[in-house]
């Protein structure tokens, strides 16, 4: 019996042009950092070195702040319409250079080109378009008096959706009249650097957007700087708590978008085949490197076997491999560190008593890879049921009654997102009312739109990004 194997269909990387070294971007241009240290950024699918970027230090952060102050002087005098035009132009350029950005994102971060091309980049452009259109009509956004921009905003973003997180942060901040100092993740600085080039191209006034690359120490320096009026952070709950503590002595605006351990609840009256798709998408999209990933399958017991059989069959068709291959579904794990974390938790899951299923696939020799994994016969007390794994690993828990489904789902310090699968409308609304999560997806998952507010309850953070409500993250109420 002849199997039909798909031939490689590799997206060419000749479209990107990566320099050997990059400095920081302040005063509207790239320049050498004060720090003489550099960090290498590698491609996690091949481990080849892509470039070296500056490891910004305190003095670099200080320069960035001075640059931002100058930028603010210009930016605050411009009308909303003028700000809107800059953002529209950026949106257009991003659209035009989408392919280039997508390839760069895939190289630097390891996610499949299919995702960076079809999801990340369109969303990035959409975010800039959406927030551009708020810049000249902020007076209509809220019927509240005295909302004003913070001024200088420090933003720290993660490695899982580098450019997308940049757009979620930078677009609303600039639209509302703030200026930005951005610190991208250590392992994924390259698309932020290319974005800085676009800022030059549209003639964004110097100092409005500033970029300082580096590691945790760079972020810490940013957080400590006394002239920053607002910090927006997306990353792990641990670091989020650190930032909240570090800024305790100041009157500073703070929004945190942290980790999650979302429950994807499947009731027995769900559209099963679509629920399987939703569960698969919920945990295997972007290799599970998603804060709102549906990492707990909370499944009604009476459909357990039928559902798990379908789920395992569906998982088997996931293609793991070269992220630049257009047919790849699951790319590389972002770093050796992350791979080690995932491996350790999964091993622990087996030891604790969970039944493990992993798909039958060949993993490449070089790079960081993990097979799509499903745990069944897991208990709510296992570490794999409670801790954020941040990888392609799904843990199954069962429930019998709707009340139990709620209890299990809320039994976590996290509260970012949740999924509800049932064809009964009233049950969706009843359940949504009771779930402690900031984003609830009913009969769908991982849906994002610039107009739709995103953010968590409890230790998944506070503040919202996106939509009318997201503007409040960047507008301070004057007392």
């Amino acid at each position: 019996m002849n199997k039909w194997e798909y031939a490689e269909s590799i997206e060419s990387s000749s479209i990107v042009n990566i320099e050997k070294k990059y400095g920081i971007f302040i005063d509207g241009k790239f320049q050498n950092a004060n720090s003489k240290k550099f960090i290498k950024t590698i491609s996690p699918s091949t481990e080849e070195v892509l470039s070296s970027v500056s490891l910004g230090n305190e003095i670099d952060i200080n320069s960035a702040v001075e640059s931002a102050k100058e930028g603010l002087k210009i930016w605050s005098k411009l009308s909303g319409t003028e700000r809107a035009k800059y953002l529209f132009k950026l949106a257009r350029l991003i659209q035009e250079r989408s392919r280039e950005f997508a390839v760069l994102e895939t190289l630097d971060g390891g996610k499949p080109i299919k995702e960076s091309r079809d999801f990340d980049l369109p969303q990035v452009a959409a975010n800039f378009f959406y927030f551009a259109g708020w810049a000249d009509k902020l007076d209509l956004s809220w019927n509240a008096k005295g909302l004003k921009p913070y001024g200088i905003v420090g933003q720290i973003i993660p490695w899982n959706f580098p450019l997308l997180m940049l757009s979620w942060k930078v677009a609303p901040a600039l639209a509302t009249g703030n200026v930005v100092i951005l610190k991208p993740a250590e392992s994924t600085p390259l698309t932020a650097i290319l974005f800085a080039e676009l800022c030059q191209e549209v003639g964004l006034p110097p100092g409005v957007f500033n970029l300082v690359t580096g590691d945790g120490s760079t972020g810490a320096a940013l957080v400590k700087h006394p002239d920053i009026s607002k910090i927006a952070f997306t990353g792990s709950t641990g670091v989020g708590k650190y930032i909240q503590k570090e800024t305790a002595d100041r009157d500073i605006g703070l929004t945190l978008e942290l980790g999650g351990k979302a429950a994807n609840i499947v009731f027995n009256d769900a559209a099963i085949d679509q629920a399987v798709e939703g569960v698969v998408n919920g945990i295997f999209f972007n290799q599970g490197h998603v804060c709102c990933a549906g990492s707990r399958l909370v499944l009604q017991e009476d459909i357990h076997d039928e559902f798990v059989t379908k789920l395992e069959k569906r998982m088997q068709s996931l293609r793991v491999g070269n992220p630049l291959d257009k047919n790849t579904d699951i790319g590389a794990i972002n770093s050796k560190d992350q791979l080690d974390k995932i491996t350790s938790l999964v091993n622990e899951g087996v030891e604790e008593g969970g039944t493990i299923f992993q798909t039958d696939c060949e993993l490449p020799q070089n790079g960081f890879w993990f097979k799509p994994t499903l745990f069944t016969n897991a208990q709510p007390s296992y570490r794999i049921s409670r801790e954020e794994i941040f990888g392609p690993v799904l843990t199954t828990l069962t429930f019998r009654t709707p009340e139990e489904a709620i209890e299990i789902s809320n039994n976590t310090e996290y509260g970012l997102s949740a999924g509800i699968w049932t064809e009964k409308g009233s049950k969706i609304l009843w359940t949504a009312d009771r779930l402690q999560a900031g984003v609830i997806w009913a009969n769908t998952f991982n849906k994002f739109d610039p107009s739709s507010p995103f953010g968590g309850y409890k230790e998944s953070g506070f503040g919202r990004e996106g939509g009318r409500h997201g503007l409040l993250s960047y507008l301070k109420v004057q007392s």
Binding site: M1, N2, K3, W4, E5, Y6, A7, E8, S9, K114, D118, D269, A270, A271, I272, D273, Q274, E277, G278, S317, K326, N327, E423, N443, T444
Partner: protein, 312 residues
């Protein structure tokens, strides 16, 4: 639910009722999955393999009021040898004609592996009593048809008389005996995904060997969403009864790119076991020409014109 298989692959009515109770399909989710399958990039060897599959799975079709024996002569010759300039191109699976042309088609294909399929049961509308449909079908079989393509009784379906719809197919399968039976759902009329899934399962339970999307006679023909749904029905039916049914897509599949997308759905949802003429067919006429052009392009690296390939 534990079900036992009865005669051949027929499920009794009460088990069928259980199968079609509470069918739930989410339209948006389904469309997304089908759209995502369409992003597969099929190149080089895998493309050539797919193109050859498509030819070998085609039912070259002519179902026109103006069909004559002369027309059948042309089409069957093309069916047997689609590209005279390239021996590697396989024959198609079958030709599909009206009952009156079956004996001519049979005569023209007797020295080949190309089967003769005939439509019947008052194709395309099915708006006639069961007796007429049985006569229609018996005639085609007597003339030598290897395969029969019937239409479901949509009148009964939309009136909620699923039992009647089921009984008709059972009766027609009885006429067919070992002749391969394909049951056309006419998905363009059924419209909703629940309807398509329900009609699929009833047709399978009633003894169909294949379920088929469309007659090709209305403007809404096949769709990849319908194919995906039917694949799900075939899989579920196999899980319950062990019987492996086939799928035929027809109506509106004009080019290779689209046809390859259908193959991707079958490949990833059902598996490579379904990628042969015994389990998957394309009902087509102009599709074959486009595939031949694509095959030639892969070999010569030049875009082709249709005048290089014979008329059928």
């Amino acid at each position: 639910m534990s079900l036992t298989k009865e005669a051949q692959n027929i499920l009794n009515w009460s088990d069928t009722v259980e199968l079609i109770d509470n069918l739930r399909v989410d339209e948006v989710g389904l469309k997304e999955r089908v759209a995502s399958l369409a992003t597969r990039s099929i190149k080089k060897d895998s493309k050539l393999q797919a193109l050859n599959y498509i030819i070998s799975m085609c039912d070259l079709t002519t179902l026109e009021g103006e069909d004559t024996e002369g027309k059948i002569g042309q089409m069957t010759a093309k069916a047997i040898r689609p590209d005279p300039s390239n021996d590697e191109v396989p024959s198609v699976a079958a030709v599909c004609v009206y009952p009156a042309l079956v004996s001519k088609a049979k005569k023209m294909t007797q020295n080949s592996n190309v089967k003769v399929a005939s439509v019947s049961s008052y194709f395309p509308s099915g708006q006639a009593p069961l007796e007429s449909k049985i006569l229609d079908t018996q005639f085609a079989i007597d003339e030598g048809a290897d395969e029969i393509d019937i239409v479901i009784n949509r009148k009964a379906f939309f009136e909620g008389d699923y039992r009647k719809m089921y009984d008709e197919i059972v009766a027609l399968k009885e006429v067919c005996k070992s002749v391969h039976l394909k049951t056309i759902l006419e998905v363009g009329e059924l419209r909703t995904y629940e309807n398509i899934k329900k009609a699929s399962l009833i047709s399978l339970a009633a003894g169909s060997d294949f379920i088929k999307t469309s007659t090709g006679k209305i403007s809404n023909g096949s769709s990849r969403e319908a194919c995906y749904l039917m694949a799900k029905a075939v899989w579920d039916y196999k899980t319950v009864t062990g019987f492996k049914a086939g799928i035929k897509v027809a109506g509106g599949i004009r080019d290779s790119k689209d046809a390859i997308r259908y193959l991707v759905i079958v490949n990833e949802e059902l598996g490579s076991e379904w990628l042969n003429p015994d389990y998957f067919r394309f009902g087509a006429s102009s599709l074959v020409d486009d595939v031949l052009k694509q095959i030639k392009k892969l070999k010569t690296n030049a875009y082709q014109s249709s005048y290089y390939f014979p008329r059928g």
